[in-house]
């Protein structure tokens, strides 16, 4: 006898297939997830940032030895000298800008964004923002802290959210320039241990510890001169024509709950 077709028999597989298609569509279009979790996620990130700052301060203080403290004092002096140098460069830069007339540098605008999720570990250093394409964000847009320090750049984008790859993320690379005498340029990438590494620096370049590292402006959407970090160590292997600089970033993704995204005024909604 021919078996009767029964819709109940197929209810479960159909439901699973529907769920799977729904999941795939959501993954592809990243529908509304950020909007849903935002009201809970933003206070949680702020709480976690507060906990990192106020409760775990001892983790930081344990690391500081008297020698390190002495180093910090000398770094401060060095930085003060650098500030003088930077001011001189600012004036020089203003004159050069007039000459070269870089339109894009004058059209920069920032928008404020809240962090709604973080993934910070030795292999990943990323966070999710509550602003996206609709707010004028574009792939590769630079993200800075409120005091103007380079934090990372946009690596994933959807309508109302975006994922930032932090400057120390190992999959991240940025074009940087050192504020040394020869203004060495290079590509910096994140390495394990919340540090940044600049490879393939010719041996004849003069690089010192505490040299400031800034964005070089060679990447299309990232303006030059955004502060990235300080040179911590300079390494050179025997017989190698290149040296490496290990850079300590000045931004700490763990300690920020909101950021600024630099966008071009043309992309504003």
């Amino acid at each position: 006898m021919k078996a009767r077709f029964s819709i109940r028999r197929y209810r479960r597989p159909v439901a699973y297939a529907f769920l799977l298609i729904l999941i795939m569509l959501m993954v592809v279009f990243r529908v509304g997830i950020v909007g849903i979790i935002e009201p809970v996620a933003v206070p949680l990130v702020q709480l976690s940032t507060w906990v990192s700052d106020k409760i775990f301060w001892w983790k930081e203080s344990q690391r500081i030895t008297p020698e390190a403290l002495e180093d910090l004092y000398s770094q401060r002096t060095q930085l003060a000298l650098e500030v003088v140098e930077v001011n001189r460069l600012k004036e020089e830069n203003a004159l050069l800008r007039e000459e070269i007339n870089f339109q894009e540098r004058t059209g920069l605008t920032t928008i404020s964004a809240q962090i709604i999720a973080k993934s910070i570990s030795r292999s990943v250093n990323r966070f999710v923002l509550n602003v996206g394409e609709q707010e004028g964000i574009r792939l590769g847009s630079p993200v800075i802290s409120h005091d103007g320090i380079f934090v990372g750049k946009i690596m994933e984008l959807s309508k109302h959210s975006s994922t930032v790859s932090s400057v120390t993320d190992p999959s991240q690379s940025i074009a940087v320039s050192l504020l040394n005498e020869s203004r060495t340029i290079g590509v910096a990438s994140g390495i394990i241990g919340d540090l940044i590494q600049i490879d393939f620096i010719p041996v004849d370049e003069q690089i010192e510890e505490n040299d400031l590292v800034v964005t070089s402006g060679l990447e299309a959407s990232i303006p030059s001169g955004l502060l990235v970090g300080l040179v911590n160590t300079v390494r050179q292997e025997a017989d190698s024509p290149f040296k490496q600089a290990i850079v300590e970033p000045l931004s700490d993704s763990r300690r920020i709950a909101s950021v600024l995204v630099i966008i071009s005024s043309e992309t504003l909604p």
């Binding site: 999941i23 959501m26 993954v27 990243r30 529908v31 997830i33 950020v34 849903i36 979790i37 809970v40 996620a41 933003v42 949680l44 990130v45 709480l47 976690s48 940032t49 906990v51 990192s52 775990f56 983790k59 709604i116 999720a117 973080k118 993934s119 910070i120 570990s121 030795r122 292999s123 990943v124 990323r126 966070f127 999710v128 994933e156 959210s161 994922t163 190992p170 999959s171 394990i192 763990r254």
Partner: protein, 170 residues
């Protein structure tokens, strides 16, 4: 229906706590695999019937957020969910704290293995990250044992209390 809806809300809340609060804490406190621990507890205590969908849901949300290894999280958590379900049904049938601890250790090992293989396949240029990733998951294993030892008696007490109350009301 209401119970399922409540579970979905609870899962979402747990996931938000994981990605927005725990993952943002300083190392090694950011390694507490809260969602995994709760899912292992549910899978084990329900004989594999409940909890495994939580892990798949977690994989989906991680993929939606594009925060760790985009488009591979769902796959790794799907494998993990199925494996933990099979383990709960046929292999780790002892519903003690030790059984759950072992299940979570196996779970994290499977997750590490899957993620390593996926990293090698899709992002082999970042293969140098594998030792760091393994170390992170080893911390996760340590945390899961600690959390189980601390919370298992509490969870068992609550579950018994709720059952007793339901029976009395019937």
């Amino acid at each position: 229906m209401i119970q399922r809806l409540l579970q979905a809300v609870l899962l979402s809340l747990l996931i938000v706590i994981q990605v927005s609060f725990i993952d943002a804490l300083p190392f090694p406190f950011d390694r507490i695999p809260l969602v995994l621990i709760v899912a292992v507890y549910l899978i084990q205590s329900s004989n594999g019937a409940r909890g495994w969908l939580w892990l798949i849901g977690y994989g989906v949300i991680l993929d939606l957020l594009h925060i760790t290894m985009p488009v591979t999280e769902l796959f790794s958590y799907f494998i993990l969910a199925i494996l933990l379900r099979v383990f709960a049904m046929h292999i780790i049938t002892n519903r003690s704290v030790y059984g759950m601890g072992i299940a979570s250790l196996i779970g994290l090992s499977v997750l590490t293995l899957t993620q390593t293989v996926l990293l090698l396949i899709f992002q082999h240029e970042h293969a140098s990250l594998i030792p760091g990733m393994v170390l992170m998951n080893v911390w996760g294993m340590g945390w899961s044992i600690i959390v189980f030892l601390l919370l298992f008696p509490l969870a068992r007490f609550l579950s018994q209390h709720i059952h007793a109350r339901n029976e009395r009301s019937l």
